[in-house]
């Protein structure tokens, strides 16, 4: 076999290696591109599956699949264009190694039926430059740039899929308003209390009505009310009638409230120092409540309360409806009723506020009277902006960047008038006492822990 033929065969062999590398790189690039496309599509569908409606998911899913199909077709078309023949490989080698089209010309020479006498010169030139066009030099093994895109798409997918494993990382906990949190805590307390009673062998007919535990018909409100009284700053009233005015804030479960509630209620009331109860009635806070808002209002509880809670609230609503219907919302009557209430109930703290609040309730709440609310809707505060603005001669700037748990700022405290001047027959609130633990509750807890 002539030396020229052998030489051309050697060149072809090397070109085949180079061609294989180039084509492998093209396939690798295609795979990464397709992978990127698919991963991104999966990520998109994942997000849609969790956040979009079925119709949106279907629509975007179809579009995504179509885009994937088009992208795949385009990628394959590009691969077909990039797929190297021997001639194309020779051109690439010529260009990358600056061989001045010698390899391509040599392949042409090989294909000729009548070879040029200059072919041997060309072959010699190609071999003299062989160090330039080693396959590993011209096409070294490297990762295509599209691999970075693939990795990025995987990161996107991991980011999207992360909430499934660690919801707290991506989905912030739902913001609980002070009242909701408080109410839930309150409800949990009551449930725990009931559970403790069951565990300790208490009678099974113990119920929790509106946050008040009763055992066998015995109203535990008085004993229960003593516990949060320290927090609420109001002494408990054991003989409070069940159908009485619940707006007085004497309800033991109402004793706990987030400070944000008090602040919000003050804003709603135009900074008049009026705190609002769970049923929309308002009252002036006790002096000790001014210094410590915690426990001034009853949080509207979205937590588990039981059917008795609703029943109890309905009773209160009925009583308030009667009162509201009988009393038009005019200032003279309200002040008159306040005076009457003060004389009827000389208990410090809460009673005056309760009557004051009950008188204002109809005016500060929305158009819908409180008595028309359905059971279970007591948590909502349908306020009209006009009512708020009308009741608030001085509006406060929104307290941006402050959470609801923060205490009101100094300027708000200054703007809010202090305790309204007491009348001649008014008695200031009693100082705050630490609440005593109810014997029943203490006995139950002790029994349980002794048994263990």
């Amino acid at each position: 076999m002539p030396a020229e033929t052998l030489g051309i065969a050697g060149v072809e062999r090397r070109l085949r290696v180079l061609r294989r590398r180039l084509n492998f790189f093209a396939v690798e690039d295609l795979a990464y591109r397709l992978g990127t496309l698919l991963v991104l599509a999966v990520a998109l569908l994942w997000v849609l599956e969790r956040h979009a409606s079925a119709a949106q998911f279907r629509l975007v899913g179809c579009v995504t699949i179509a885009i994937c199909a088009i992208g795949a077709a385009a990628a394959f078309a590009k691969l077909r264009r990039r797929w190297m023949t021997m001639e194309g490989t020779a051109r690439v080698a010529d260009r990358r190694a600056c061989l001045e089209d010698r390899l391509a010309a040599l392949l042409t020479h090989r294909a000729r039926s009548q070879r040029s006498p200059l072919g041997s010169i060309l072959l010699a030139q190609v071999f003299s430059l062989s160090a330039r066009w080693e396959p590993h030099i011209l096409a070294p093994h490297r990762v295509p740039r599209s691999a970075y895109g693939f990795v990025a798409s995987l990161a996107v997918l991991a980011f999207v899929a992360a909430p499934t494993r660690q919801p707290s990382l991506l989905q912030p906990a739902p913001v609980q308003t002070g009242e909701a949190a408080e109410a839930r805590t309150d409800g949990e307390h009551m449930l725990a209390f009931q559970r403790l009673r069951v565990m300790s062998g208490e009678p099974a007919n113990t119920t929790v009505a509106n946050g008040v535990a009763t055992t066998g018909g015995e109203d535990l409100r008085g004993s229960r009310a003593r516990a949060p009284a320290g927090a609420g700053g109001k002494p408990a009233q054991p003989d409070l009638p069940s159908q009485g005015d619940g707006s007085g804030g004497s309800h033991p479960a109402e004793a706990h409230s987030a400070p944000g509630d008090a602040e919000r209620n003050r804003r709603v009331d135009g900074g008049q120092g009026v705190v609002r109860n769970h049923d929309g009635t308002a009252r002036h806070p006790a002096p000790d409540e001014k210094t410590n808002d915690r426990g001034t209002t009853r949080a509207t509880a979205p937590g588990p309360r039981g059917a008795n809670d609703t029943a109890h609230r309905t009773e209160n609503d009925q009583a308030r409806e009667t009162e509201t219907a009988a009393a038009p919302h005019t200032d003279p009557r309200r002040s008159e009723r306040a005076e009457k209430g003060a004389s009827d109930n000389p208990q410090p703290g809460g009673s005056l506020a309760a009557r004051e609040g009950s008188g204002r309730a109809g005016g500060l709440l929305g158009e819908r009277p409180a008595s028309t609310r359905a059971p279970g809707q007591g948590r909502t505060f349908p306020l009209k902006l006009s009512a708020s603005s009308a009741a608030a001669p001085t509006r406060f700037e929104p307290q941006r960047g402050r959470s609801s748990d923060e205490a009101p700022s100094a300027e708000i405290a200054d703007a809010v008038p202090a305790t309204p001047s007491l009348g001649e027959r008014d008695v200031p609130d009693a100082p705050l006492h630490r609440a005593e633990i109810s014997p029943e509750h203490e006995a139950v807890v002790r029994r349980i822990f002794n048994r263990k």
């Binding site: 001639e87 020779a90 051109r91 260009r95 001045e100 089209d101 010698r102 391509a104 010309a105 040599l106 392949l107 042409t108 020479h109 040029s116 006498p117 200059l118 072919g119 041997s120 010169i121 060309l122 030139q125």
Partner: protein, 345 residues
């Protein structure tokens, strides 16, 4: 091809070329690029149209070249009353030994190197007399065909001024020339050397490169070697694309296909007719000679680009708008080459 090794042939070509150029340089002052292009056309087997103002040495270049190559040389001064038979030859009644017989009297076209001086002063009929000789190396007179002995090399000069009484060359005639070179005015130093050497008592002498006996065969050998130079398919495609790009898009002779190179607006606006396939042949043949001169046996893009202006500029037929705007076909081709740079990748 002789029994010489291919490497020796290539080296011989380069050496011969340089030798001819050196000998021409003894007489011709400056114009190195023009001389190189003339020699490229000569070894490529084509003909050259030289355009230049009078007195720039057109005739001197051709005559000196014939002396250097040691080939037969003819010169025809084209005038208005020149007839085709004055070029090709004619049948004459010659009395020999008391007998009259008709024999063909060969014209000046029967030479290796033919200088057609001021070719545009003859009528188109006379100009066309060269067509057959240039294209097919043969002359037909009175029904008989006479072969021209190779090499046959026509150098025609063209006077761009004094246009009154001249006849523009037909496009078919122009297309027969492989290259058209423009002979500019010499620069100051070259001018000084020209007037000094031509007015001295001693005129420069040139030495013949080839022996008179084998000059023609040697030249043919070298021309054959040029045709052996290898061209990759993509370079042939590039040359074809360049030629195709000179054709305006609105031409009714354009085939319905997508051009490889984008259509240039200037071509569409100023060109009436583009280059013929002979332009592509000129590109590749000229590029092959350039490749050999560079010591390569294969053509590159640069070889084609460097010969493109000379090979294509006389093949573009410009329209009235181009003449009105003073557009030079060389400018159009340079634009094309600039746009075709991306084809190199």
């Amino acid at each position: 091809m002789t029994s010489q090794s291919p490497r020796a042939l290539v080296d011989d070509f380069r050496h011969t070329f340089e030798h001819i150029r050196t000998e021409l340089g003894r007489v011709i002052v400056g114009h190195q690029s023009v001389i190189e292009e003339i020699l490229i056309a000569f070894f490529a087997g084509g003909h050259v149209l030289i355009e230049g103002v009078p007195g720039t040495g057109k005739t001197l270049i051709v005559r000196t070249l014939a002396q250097v190559l040691n080939l037969s040389f003819s010169r025809i001064q084209f005038t208005v009353d020149l007839m085709p038979a004055d070029i090709t030859g004619t049948r004459m009644v010659i009395e020999r030994d008391g007998r009259r017989e008709v024999s063909f009297y060969r014209g000046p076209v029967f030479a290796h190197v033919l200088l057609a001086d001021e070719i545009n002063r003859a009528t188109p009929k006379t100009q066309s007399a060269l067509l057959e000789a240039m294209a097919e190396l043969q002359v037909t007179a009175a029904g008989e065909t006479y072969r021209l002995s190779p090499p046959f090399f026509v150098l025609a000069t063209l006077n761009p001024i004094e246009m009154e009484g001249t006849y523009p060359l037909p496009e078919a005639q122009l297309d027969r020339f492989l290259l058209k070179v423009v002979l500019p005015y010499p620069d100051s130093k070259a001018m000084q050397r020209i007037i000094g050497s031509t007015t001295a008592a001693e005129t420069p002498k040139v030495n013949a490169v080839f022996d008179a006996a084998n000059a023609a065969s040697r030249v043919e050998e070298l021309k054959t070697l040029v045709r052996e130079v290898l061209v990759a398919p993509h370079l042939e495609e590039y040359a074809a694309a360049l030629v195709r790009a000179t054709i305006p898009a609105g031409s009714k002779f354009v085939p319905a296909e997508t051009a490889v190179l984008p259509a240039d607006d200037f071509i569409n606006r100023y060109v009436a007719f583009g280059s013929s396939p002979r332009g592509g042949q000129a590109l590749l043949l000229g590029a092959k000679v350039r490749a050999l001169l560079a010591g390569r046996v294969n053509v590159t893009y640069e070889d084609i680009d460097r010969i493109a202006v000379s090979a294509l500029n006389h093949r573009l037929v410009l329209n009235f708008a181009a003449h009105a705007d003073g557009i030079d076909p060389r400018y159009l081709i340079e634009r094309l080459l600039h746009a075709a740079k991306r084809f190199h990748r």
